[in-house]
Symmetry: none
Subunit: 244 residues, 4 copies
DNA sequence: CATGAATGAGCCTTCATTCAT
DNA sequence: TATGAATGAAGGCTCATTCAT
């Protein structure tokens, strides 16, 4: 028993070690720079050993993505907790998104790599299923807030939209802005000086447009977001630290 | 003189031919399947010749992206034309975005490839500048509508947002939804059944949230978008055809 | 004592199990697909355990070949039995060859693999000796018939040929035809439509050429072979079944 | 023109050089020892260069086999020439077979490798077609002699056998004996002391069994074969030398 | 300018064998 | 004795780039 447990722990540790080595390579130099050769040469193990843990490099990326999405999920959960008004908890999740993109930028980048078609083609379906479950989990945290608000009357009935489709819009604007920020080298040259604040405002306007109570004007909203950020960033940092 | 001109035309034609060959490879099989060998083998020219036109394959992708963004620009221009109310012209641009993603899906995909970090690392700054100009051009078409509406009072003053930052939100939600649709294998499993309609509604709510006149309810808005699509799709198709 | 005996039986059973697992892999996918990893993964034992039974995969192949040749030997013995005329018993062995190639095609293929040079290079001489003994055993079954016929005057004296060299010719034509049939993708395209019947006729003519009594014309011979096949195939099947 | 021709010649020479390097490796150490790495390291060229000539190592083996079978074909043609009686020309082809197996033993071995299933699986169908054409060519040289003898009445009508099936028997016994000789380490231990003479005798008896005129007894036949061998081996050696 | 053979580093993967537990 | 993770050499193959013609 003890014997087995120790060996298993060693193996798990090595798996973790592989991930720790692979992550910065992927982040700094991209998918094609992430080769089994390089991972092995950064460890005291041989290439074949890596293959005992992951059948191909795509699975490594997926595993990193799973870790990343679990962290996101935890942040979302933390943001959605408490007995504040639903819209405020939603705003906190927005702040969690900002935190994730800015302070967990490696995880954020890993999530983008995960969306690469090559990776889905080559990896096993088991890990793909886990990824989708993580995605659905995050979606549900937010959708639950929408449902709650609908029930309590804070949010007027959505005629043509499922709660998840309501979330989809928020997801799209958040995600889209982050991708654009990351991949458009000079948003400033385009006239976009503060993309984060801009998206905050858009979210405010969007929720106002849906009539989600309490309606907030930009001033109030920006102030509130600042307060939430100040309060929750430390909590999020704590979660980040605990997440290995 | 004549001699040179003929030669130059031949060179331009060859450049076009290279792009015509490279595009379907990139679309169907991705960046790593796009090799100079394959491009050459699909033409009557040799690999070395390709190198006389493009110093590396990344430049080919960037050139394809420039073509794609020029088409997008034309569609945006067409959508922004006429003397209809600004918000309606903005909606037409939204329809142009949908058209572009759905009917010019190859160009849309090329634009995504362009955002790949590897490509920016390896390509020349000249083409990168052109890309940014195209991007700025599209941005300006929409920003001009925002400015016009602000001047005419259709859109209340934006306290904390430049017109471009106003556009940025629309860009983010549109772009983000399209990326998510393309890369999340089963939005439906997440509860998102009609992402296109969902985003239409979100755009409606967002603009309403900004108080952009005329305020439209979802029903009116969806109906209106349908009408615009019916009217403008043929025009867009014409533009697409003319764009070689 | 009992303890040891039980252990020994377990070991023998495991050896058999390894052979049962290895055989279909070798047959269906060839020598290079037969890896210790695959064998182990098809059993409840680990790779290291396999190495306790066979020092390398070549020995597994040789052991399979020994089993195969033992079956061949049994079939030959059955064909050579009875008190019919020697030439008829020889024909029965010919039928046994056909049975072996057709109905014991796995064993037949294993024998071919055994002839692969790599296997002889890597395997131990003990098993190689056993193989040769099996080969000699089969040879002797037939050679005995030749000797008997020579003594009884059915077969005229062979001036320049040992009885074994007489058998060698029959072995060569039988074996050669089977290899050619197995490895020439389209004998039919070469004009060879029924290789089995063709070889039956050649054997008839060859024995006639040696003056082996009773001389038979093709018609009689083919008819006789059919009868022998009808009578002996069930017996051969019985032997095959008993051979595990 | 001259330019192209020179380059093409250089390429052809390099192709030949690859074959010259690959052949002894295949002969001496077998298929799995024949690696592109080794071939390259034995030349002054890089591995990639080998791949410009042959898409995989299996094609190299097939190309070697094509060369080998062309040599066989030439020897058969030489043996079948002249206006001697058909049966004598057939014997000369038999001598050519012996010459091929003994003096062109490398080519003979290459032909055996060609029959390896792996090679057929991985190689291009173009070369496979050529192989089959070579095989059919050799078959036809002999089948033509059979047909001629049938027409001239030297060989009684074959009731149940096509001329090619007649040849098949000779092919099988010749081929089979050569394989057995090559792969049974100690025929002598089995009682087979002179397999070549044995097969000569079997061929004699077989043809006698078919009533092929002139009927020859063993003594005459062996003597005649010796004479043919003495006369034709120098010619065959000449052909072998000319075959590069 | 066009050509396209040559390069050779590098990629992903396999697997027979070892050996500490 | 059984285990199975680790090894690491080796294999097949690719491809961006160069350069002599």
């Amino acid at each position: 028993m003890v014997e087995i447990t120790r060996k298993q722990r060693e193996i798990q540790q090595r798996t973790q070690e592989i991930l720790r080595v692979a992550k910065p390579i992927l982040i700094a130099e991209g998918l094609q720079a992430l080769t089994m050769d390089r991972v092995a040469s950064h460890m005291q193990y041989a290439k074949g050993t890596i293959y005992n843990h992951f059948p191909n490099k795509e699975e490594i990326v997926l595993e990193l993505a799973i870790e990343a999405m679990k962290l996101r999920h935890k942040l979302f959960d933390a943001g959605a907790s408490g007995d504040r008004p639903a819209r405020m908890r939603l705003m906190t999740i927005g702040v969690a998104c900002e935190f994730y993109t800015q302070r967990c930028s490696e995880e954020f980048q890993v999530e983008q790599w995960m969306r690469n078609a090559n990776i889905w083609d080559k990896s096993s379906s088991e890990r793909q299923v886990i990824i989708r479950q993580c995605e659905a989990g995050c979606m549900q945290v937010v959708a639950r807030l929408v449902r709650e608000s609908l029930e309590q009357g804070d949010l007027p009935a959505l005629d043509h939209l499922s709660p998840e489709e309501m979330v989809f819009g928020l997801w799209a604007i958040t995600f889209g802005s982050q991708i654009l920020t990351a991949s458009s080298p000079s948003l400033e040259a385009l006239g976009v000086f503060d993309p984060i604040r801009a998206i905050r405002i858009h979210c405010c306007r969007l929720l106002n447009g849906f009539g989600w109570q309490p309606i907030l004007d930009e001033h109030q909203y920006l102030k509130l977001v600042e307060n939430i950020a100040a309060e929750y960033f430390p909590r999020f940092e704590q979660i980040q630290r605990e997440h290995r």
